[in-house]
């Protein structure tokens, strides 16, 4: 669970320059904007978008879970195990829904 939090964090860190590149070209000119859209809609782009959405959702949901545990919510073993399972399962499903919605 927390290892996935780490992995998704590192993956998103690696994606940062690529995302700034897309933002940069999309704002500079109409041609760049079209190019950014076509990069995102290309097969590798779609895979990267899904990976990013899954990573973001896992990192975000697990992060909220840690913040709640910080304030003593969901600390007991059974509850913590349950929420960990929910986060791990929900992230790829919601990631798929988001990817589909964004394309």
């Amino acid at each position: 669970m927390s290892i996935i939090h780490r992995i998704t964090g590192v993956l998103m860190f690696l994606a940062v320059p690529f995302l700034i590149y897309l933002l940069d070209i999309s704002l500079i000119s109409e041609r760049g904007y079209e190019e950014a859209i076509s990069v995102i809609h290309s097969p590798p782009g779609v895979i990267l978008l899904f990976g990013l959405m899954w990573g973001l959702l896992h990192h975000l949901l697990a992060g909220i879970r840690y913040l709640l545990i910080d304030v003593d919510l969901g600390v007991d073993k059974e509850r913590a195990r349950q929420t960990a399972w929910i986060v791990t399962m929900a992230a790829p499903v919601l990631g798929l829904v988001l990817t589909w919605g964004l394309l």
Binding site: R6, F13, V16, D24, L27, Y33, G63, L67
Partner: protein, 113 residues
């Protein structure tokens, strides 16, 4: 940086940036899902508005700080050799600063041109 971003300060910084990043990411995704800008002009004017410009800059800075604290923890856990650790951390810091300047440049240019 090591002294400023260690211990309790890093703990608070990581949580404060996390909250802002989470809220802004949800806002970005909601807009892109519910009413995305229709074309280049709409996309551009969204980022060129003063509020969105500042909010996005704060987001970029938050992501870079959050990434620094997180990646530093990961590097310190897995890279034990001191020269290697210093080298990796220096490269990460340099990369993050470069990303921050790059994104700031885009967000400032969109308001000027």
């Amino acid at each position: 940086m090591s002294r400023k971003a260690s211990g309790l300060k890093a703990w608070v910084l990581q949580r404060a940036t996390a909250i802002y990043i989470g809220l802004f990411a949800v806002y970005l995704l909601a807009v892109m899902l519910i009413s995305p800008p229709a074309d280049y002009a709409g996309w551009r004017s969204w980022f060129a508005s003063p509020t969105m410009g500042i909010a996005t800059l704060v987001f970029v800075v938050s992501v870079l700080l959050h990434a620094w604290v997180g990646i530093r923890d990961v590097v310190m856990d897995y890279v034990w050799n001191t020269p290697a650790r210093v080298t990796v951390l220096a490269l990460v810091a340099l990369g993050l600063v470069a990303c921050g300047l790059w994104a700031s440049q885009s967000l400032i240019l969109v308001r000027l041109v």
